[in-house]
Structure formats: C-alpha cells, structure tokens
C-alpha cells in the first residue's frame, strides 16, 4: 500500500514539473515576452554611448577654448570658454547616469562621476595646488579638479570678469591648472568611451537580472543618480538633513556659474529619458517603463509613477532658470517643492520598480528554498 501511494505521488510531482517543459505549444496565456537584451541594446547604443560622445565633443571644444583663453586672456575668449563649459556641463548630466562597466569603481579608482565631476569643490585646495605649481593630480583630492574645478577657475567667486582675466594673465600656473583640468576631464571620458567598445558585447550579453547583470547595474545606477539629484542637488543645499540648522546654498552643483537650476533640470530630463528608454535626441525606445508593461502589476505602477513624475515636472517648471543657490535663499518654497515631490517619487523607483522586475539590488544571498 505504502509503496503504491508513494510512487503515484512521486509520479504526480515529476509530471507536474516536466509538463511545464512541454506545454510551450499549447495556447495558455503567455506574458508579453520582454527581451531585456533589447532594453540593453537600446540603452547602450542610443543613450549611453551617444551621451559619452556628446561629452567628448563638447569637452574638446572646452579644451580648445581654455587654451585660447590662456593664450590671450580677454573678455571674448573668457566668454567663449564659459560657453564651452556650459555645453560640456549640460552634456555631462546625461553621461553621469551610467557609472557602470568602464566607468564603474575599480580598485583605488572611483566611479567616473566621482573622479571628474565631484561637487562641491574646494577652492582652497585648487588655489593651493596652483600656488604649489602642481598639476599632476597625483592625489586623492578629487574635489580639487574636474568639471566643477574648471567652473571655479572660469567663473570664480564674487569677482568681476576683469579680475578673472587679470588672475589668468598674471598666473602661468592658473592657466596650466585650468588646461590640465580640462585635459584630464577629456582624457577620462575618452578612456571610458573607448573601453565601451570592448564592453558593449559583454553589456548586452549579461542579460539576466541577478547581481552582476547589466540590468541590475543599469537599475542601481539609475536609482543612485535619482537619489543624488534629490539628496545632493536639493536636500543638503536646502538644509533638509537632520541637525542642519540652516540652508547651505553654496553646496549646490555648479554654484559659481549660476547654471545650477538648468543643470538640475537637465539631470531630471536624463532620468526621464532612462525611464522612457529615449535616445539622446528624445526619440522613443525601450526603457524601464516598457519593461514594466510586461510584468505582473506593472501597468498600475507605470500609472502611479508617471502621475508623480508630472508633479515633479510642475515644480521644476515653477523654478526659474539661473542660480539654484539664489532660489534657495530668495524663494525657498520653490526648490523645496521640487525636493518634496522628488521624495514622493522615490518609492516608485526604489522598491516598487526593482521588486516588480525582480532585479537584484545586493550581493547577499536571498533566503533559499
């Protein structure tokens, strides 16, 4: 008796498991099959690589204009250099979302963003290196160079254009430091871009959802970038951390040039592009949104997320272009509203999205069965 019951039961389970391998042909409902490979392909070829290309193009121009400003410091060449910087800083907002593969942290080298675009920078360190005639960058003071180090040199703090020009005219090492900084910026981005050639097939081939898969890298960086926008570009300058008794307007990104608000808006745009899977020119493609359309509970989440994205957009639109520092000091409620609405968006990007697409967030093992 025991024997028969046992064997029948076993056969039942075996057949349950194996039948799943054979019912492909039958007409049971299939989820809209989502190809992560297409998402990765679209992201890499239409967004990530073109973003780096754009940064390289603009920073070549930046290099040239800083060189000519150094050769003959005058109002025209200064304006030229500043214009070039603005372009590069705008292009950078897109590229800053993808600290993966060649741009990821490796050994003592930090992520590309941390290596070449840290903010706030330390003007004291920059002035000290210039005084010491040291342009080697052989140190870990990453806040003494990069995109926002160049910004400081070109825009300076509370001085007239004439004085900026004078400072350059009178200091060979100020010129050298500015040129070395823009070289370094271009070099680092170019290296990453070149390494992407070899990384691209790997990126597309690692199409799982486990840790180490490209989707998980992409997702984790997307989230990090979003939280960086919320916490570092708004939260801290707004004085929103516990124990912060006052605002810290000088800690915004790009506090010397006065483009901080526009750059934040550009950053927000890049977040939306990744969500929608748009290419650099804004043409539709496959992104996280389309991925969600294929999974359980996905359409509800898309609806809720996009509603909140509209709310974020409204607060960004209400924020006048120009200096975010000034906005924080003079019309606190407007940048604060952006922070509040970004906060409300967080859960959709953070836990809901990752949970629904089943992407791994950490290395640690889950609970086994």
């Amino acid at each position: 008796m025991n024997k028969q019951v046992g064997i029948i039961f076993l056969i039942l389970i075996f057949s349950l498991v194996f039948s799943s391998c054979t019912d492909e042909a039958d007409s049971k409902k299939e989820n809209t099959q989502f190809q992560r490979q297409e998402l990765l392909n679209n992201m890499a070829n239409n967004l990530i690589i073109p973003s780096y290309n754009e940064v390289i193009l603009t920073s070549i121009e930046l290099n040239q204009s800083i060189a000519s400003f150094s050769n003959s410091p005058n109002q025209a060449s200064l304006e030229q250099a500043r214009k070039a910087w603005k372009k590069a800083a705008f292009a950078w907002q897109f590229a800053s979302n993808f600290n993966i593969g060649p741009a990821a942290e490796m050994g003592i080298q930090k992520t590309l963003s941390e290596e070449i675009a840290i903010f706030p920078i330390s003007k004291d360190k920059i002035e000290n290196f210039i005084l010491a005639q040291d342009t080697s960058f052989n140190n870990f003071d990453r806040d003494s160079r990069g995109l926002f180090g160049i910004e400081y040199l070109l825009f300076d703090e509370n001085v007239s254009d004439a004085q900026v020009i004078k400072k350059f005219t009178n200091s060979l090492w100020r010129k050298n430091y500015a040129q070395a900084s823009s070289h370094q910026f271009l070099n680092r981005v170019s290296t990453v871009r070149i390494e992407w050639n070899a990384y691209l097939p790997i990126f597309i081939a690692q199409n799982g959802t486990d840790i180490g898969s490209s989707t998980s890298y992409l997702y984790n960086e997307f989230l990090k970038s979003f939280e960086g926008l919320k916490n570092f570009k708004f939260g801290i300058p707004l004085g929103r951390r516990p124990g912060q008794s006052s605002t810290l307007p000088q800690t915004v990104e790009a506090c010397y040039s006065g483009y901080s608000t526009e750059l934040a808006k550009q950053h927000w745009k890049s977040i939306q592009y990744i969500w929608d899977g748009k290419d650099v020119n804004g043409m539709a493609g496959i992104g996280f949104k389309e991925y969600l359309e294929s999974v359980e509970g996905g359409s509800d989440l898309i609806l809720l997320t996009q509603q909140q994205m509209v709310n974020v957009q409204v607060t960004f639109d209400a924020l006048p272009d120009g200096s975010l520092s000034d906005a924080i000091e003079q019309q606190f409620a407007k940048p604060d509203a952006v922070h509040t609405e970004l906060q409300k968006l967080t859960r959709f990007f953070k836990s809901d999205l990752s949970s629904l697409i089943g992407v791994a967030v950490t290395y640690s093992s889950g609970d086994g069965d």
Partner: protein
C-alpha cells in the same frame, strides 16, 4: 508502540549514516565558510558596518574588531576540518556551533533560514558520537570505536530535516502562492534569459506548475525519504528541485547543503558503499569493525533522562515555534510577526522604501535621513520592510544625532512596502513617533492592516 519507540531511539544501529552525515556536513560548512571569506563578506558584514540590527533578546551580542572576526572565520574553517575528519570531534563541533551562531547573531538583517538551520544542526552535532568510526579520534583511541550507535543519534537529524521541509510546504499553502502563483510569476520571467529553459518562464502556467509542485514537494518529501521504496526517487527529485532553485535564485550554498545532509536518509548499504569508495580513493585501512558492543562509551557520558528531557523540549519547540504566527492577527507576510525561524523560504516578493524624519528640538526643525550614510544596500533593503528593524533604526538615529549634539524628540518614518507586486502601501502612520513604540512579542497594533487603505 513501545517497540517502535525503542526501535527509533535506544536500539543500536549501524553508525554508517551518521559518519557520512558528519563528513558531508563538515565539507559543506567548510565550503560555505571559505566562500564567505573569499567573497569578502567578512568585511562587508562585520567590518565596514556602522549599524548592527539585533535579534530580540540577543542585544548583548556585539561585533568584535576586524581581526577577531577574521580569526573566528578561520577557527570555523579549522573546526569544519575537525568535523570532517572526526578529529577532536566534540571540541570541533562545539567550537563551530558557537562561532557560527555568534556570527549569525551579530546582525539580523543577514538572517537566513538556512543559517538558522546550520546552527541547529551544529548544535545537534555536539550531542552525537559521530567520531566513533571512520574518524581520527577512533583511530587514535580505539577504546571509543563503535560500529553501532543508538538510533536516536541518527533519527534526530531526520526529524529535524522533515520539519524543515514540511513547514516550508505548509507555508506555501496560501492564497498568493497557490491561486495567484505569486511570487513565482515575478521571479520566473526575470530568468527568461537562461539557456534552453529560459523561454518557458515567460508562461504564467509555468509559474502555477512550479508553485503547486513546490508545495507538494516540500510537504511530501519527508515521507518519500523515509519510505524504502520511494527513497532513491525522492532524493533524486530533491536534487533536481534544489538544483533548479539554485539556478533560478541567488541563494548561495543552500542547495548544496540540503542535497548533502539528506543523504542521511539512505540505508546502511549505501553508506557502506560510499565509505568503501572513500577507502579506495584515499587508500585508507579497512573499516574499524567492532563486533561486540561493549560498554558504549557514549552512554556513560550522557545521562539518559537528561537527554530525553532535552529532546522532548527541543522538538516540542521546533514543532510549535514555527506555528506561533497563528497567535497574531493580520497578514503574516505583511506584519512579519512569526515570520522568522519558521522555514518560510522564498515565499514572497517584498520590498520597501523607508524615509526617516528626525526632529531636532534644539534647532526646532525636522530633517530627512539619507539611509546610505549608515546602512549598506542589503541592510537598508531588509530594514525597509521589517517593522521591528524599523524601530531599531529609529532608536539608532536618535542616539546618533544626539551624540552629534542634537536633541531628538521625534523620529517618524514614511514606509511604503510592496508585497507580491501589489501597489506599495504605508506600513504604518507616517506621523507616528517611533521612539514611543517599543518592540515585544505582543501584536504590533501600530502596523496598518494589509487589506485596508
């Protein structure tokens, strides 16, 4: 009945299954500890950590300095080797049990059912004479050599294993798992890139079949393994089952552990053959055959009544503790009251976003916490959906900011949790001052019920 009890407890049976069990368990703990070291998890879990979440009642377990944490892991490796070879066996088993359990108790965010399982088995290993044969101990000291041991020394492991599978099985009998095929409906399509089988995971019917098969498997596998006729097929099914889950999910060494330890169910012939194979491969001397059972050393060392009392309590605990969730109102997966230590493995897809607000009376302002400042990704992920950990973190934040000179009167949190792909919901009132709530075994009435808006 009396006969059956005697048969399964005090009757002397061949020691072979216990020996195999000892060797395989030692090998898996060795691999598991080595893997932990090589992956750099000692640093990740025990060195680069600013906050440790505590087990209720074990708040006194404190992190040791980095070199000590490494020393403990090295000690575990050595103890594992001791277990494999049956060398200084009792000491090895005790050392392993304490080191392993200590490491687990440091931070509850790393709790896994299979770590709990290893702790339990390690404790039981301390009580059995697994070194009386095929061991360096019995080779050095022939007076302890035995070819037979009391049946209970083997059966306790079988019972423990059956408990694990059975409770894992009944945990799967719930609406989401069986009727909605959740969370497998989420997890399987996430693996649709696997070679050959990947495509199959796009079908919702696959999720249903896996859900039901998994439930039947867990509930009945204990019976298959006990039954002589079905054992080999049951075990092969088990191997298949664990390999599949190992392939699909990020669950580390657990499949390997379960495949290894369930070998204990096989009958003596299988174990003798395995041991013969081992002799041939490692060119060992013949089996340490002792034909006469003379004064089993084991019975002298442990009092029978004491043992009986211990095991009655032990198994009563393991039978009842996983069922404690019945005493709590509300949805178990949502409140997590009675969730841990109950063999609920890969049962739900749950994630949360927890944003903490700290009110500083000195500056009269409320600030938002950036969790990344204090927690690693794993800790944050676990904390954000488990009510008791949310309380612990609130307390930590109060202490932290007060040490920086703030005067903290209130910590509140906005915790949105999504369970099995449902839209995320507030776990509790986002105005609640978490400092006024203390954790206990009582129902957590401050948690919002799942089914109400």
């Amino acid at each position: 009945m009396r006969k059956w009890i005697k048969h399964t407890t005090t009757k002397y049976i061949d020691v072979a299954p216990l020996v195999t069990f000892r060797i395989l368990f030692g090998i898996t703990t060795f691999i598991s500890t080595l893997r932990f070291l090589l992956l750099g998890w000692v640093d990740l879990h025990f060195v680069d950590t600013k906050v440790q979440f505590k087990y209720f009642g074990f708040e006194w377990v404190k992190l040791l300095p980095a070199e000590w944490m490494y020393a403990i892991h090295i000690l575990m490796l050595m103890a594992s080797i001791g277990i494999v070879f049956g060398a200084f066996y009792r000491i090895s088993a005790i050392v392993f049990f304490f080191c392993f359990t200590f490491c687990e108790l440091i931070d509850i965010t790393y709790y896994l059912n299979h770590y709990y399982f290893v702790s339990i088995i390690a404790l039981l290993m301390c009580l059995v004479p697994a070194n009386v044969n095929y061991a360096l101990d019995s080779w050095r000291n022939p007076t302890i050599r035995q070819s037979k041991v009391p049946a209970w020394t083997i059966n306790i492991f079988k019972i423990q294993l059956i408990f694990v599978y059975f409770f894992a099985g009944i945990a799967k009998i719930n609406y989401d798992w069986l009727v909605e095929a959740l969370p497998l409906k989420i997890w399987l399509p996430a693996n649709n890139n696997l070679p050959l089988v990947g495509r199959v995971f796009n079908y919702t019917s696959t999720a249903y079949i896996f859900s039901w098969a998994g439930m039947f498997f867990d509930i009945s596998i204990g019976y298959f393994l006990l039954n002589n006729y079905t054992r080999i097929w049951g075990w092969l099914l088990l191997v298949f089952f664990h390999l599949i889950t190992g392939l699909l999910f990020q669950i580390g060494v657990f499949p390997l552990v379960m495949i290894a330890v369930t070998v204990i169910f096989f009958d003596n012939n299988v174990h003798h053959r395995l041991q013969l194979l081992m002799q041939l491969v490692f060119k060992l001397n013949g089996r340490n055959e002792v034909s006469v059972i003379n004064l089993p050393y084991y019975e002298k060392s442990l009092n029978k009544m004491w043992l009986l009392a211990f095991f009655v309590t032990w198994f009563a605990f393991h039978l009842l503790f996983p069922l404690r969730y019945l005493l709590y109102p509300g949805n178990l997966c949502w409140t997590e009251e009675g969730y841990r230590f109950s063999w609920r493995v890969m049962l739900m897809e749950k994630a949360g976003t927890a944003t903490f607000y700290v009110t500083d009376d000195l500056i009269g302002k409320e600030g938002v916490v950036d969790n990344k400042q204090f927690l690693n990704l794993h800790q944050e992920k676990q904390m954000a959906m488990q009510p008791d950990l949310i309380l612990q973190y609130a307390q930590f934040l109060k202490n932290h900011y007060e040490s920086l000179g703030s005067q903290v009167s209130k910590v509140r949190a906005e915790v949105y949790v999504t369970l099995n792909a449902k839209p995320s919901k507030l776990l509790m009132a986002d105005t609640l001052n978490l400092l006024t709530v203390s954790d206990s075994w009582k129902p957590k009435t401050w948690i919002f019920p799942l089914d109400e808006k």
